[in-house]
Symmetry: C2
Subunit: 191 residues, 2 copies
């Protein structure tokens, strides 16, 4: 019926993610995405809308990836304590300079004062809420494991804070041993 698209939108979102993650939203120009993806601007605009909309699509895709992985990790048939430790441990490469110093695209975006606040904050809020829900649900389900007075809701939030802190400090490329030591110490809150 008409000329078909010459690129896979998902591939382009993947490339755009890398560029945005590396340089941040503001500092990334569409020309750079064009150069990296080989897709010209009019095609990008036709497929994704303007720069803000493209970034939101990239970010949502990023969120979905992490949430999917969190669901799988936290659903494992091991004690909650162990599942959560594995989940946190999985971030170590991103917290320690092993996979660059980019930290977390979502946190980097949240701390960027320049982004279109309304939509972006909604996306990040939704992501954080869902992540915290996963942690909370797991802690509640296994609450019998823990000592009396254990509060799964506060603990879920504390883990979110530690997670955010580790990824915010990732930009300093800390040694992975230190990251691991922090995770161990925080996990002792659950023992």
């Amino acid at each position: 019926m008409a000329r078909p698209r010459s690129f896979d939108p998902d591939d382009v979102l993947e490339i755009a993610r890398q560029v945005f993650w590396q340089k941040g939203f503001q500092a990334t120009s569409l020309d750079e995405i064009t150069a990296a993806s080989g897709v010209a601007k009019p095609s990008l605009y036709a497929a994704f809308g303007d720069k803000n909309a493209l970034f939101l699509k990239v970010l949502d895709r990023y969120h979905d990836g992490i949430l999917g992985w969190a669901e799988r990790t936290l659903a494992q048939p091991v004690p909650a304590c162990e599942a959560i430790r594995q989940w946190l441990t999985g971030f170590i490469p991103y917290c320690s300079g092993e996979k660059g110093q980019r930290g977390c695209l979502s946190i980097n975006s949240a701390t960027d004062g320049s982004l279109d606040q309304a939509e972006l904050r909604k996306s990040i809020e939704r992501y954080n809420r869902r992540l915290e829900e996963l942690l909370r649900a797991r802690l509640r389900a296994d609450r019998a494991e823990f000592r009396k007075g254990f509060d799964p809701d506060v603990t879920a939030h504390t883990i979110m804070v530690v997670h955010a802190g580790l990824l915010a400090l990732a930009h300093q490329r800390p040694d992975s041993k230190r990251v691991k030591a922090v995770i161990d110490q925080v996990m002792s809150l659950l023992a």
Copy 2:
């Protein structure tokens, strides 16, 4: 001997700090700083150098302010545990949307992939190192307070991580009660 400066550089750095903190480095134009301060661009360039240099001066000044306050708070003649709790508690207004949603200028800058990396990272690294040293020194000095096997070095780093996490999540304007609950739970690591 010559025409005197018509503005106080420190006032301008203070104003520039507010603008940079509000909008981020990239999204802040020198025209905005000119508008906010009443100082024209050539004077800014003469006094501070280019935009990067201006930002570094603003950031160093910000760091010094927080370090000074941390020194005072942590030097108080109370148990280390209590001094650190007070230090963390002092950030609550900046962690909870009470004083806007700007979080911490240093963390916001660290997560911004677009900044001149060499100089900026050195400044932030130095700041974090000095802050962590203050915490570590205080914990070491009072280590007798804590249980056996207590590791002041790891604990100092964990507190840095929590601090960074709270300020990274500040952009979601969490309820100050939740922030306080997290601080309480983390402080229980020291009990």
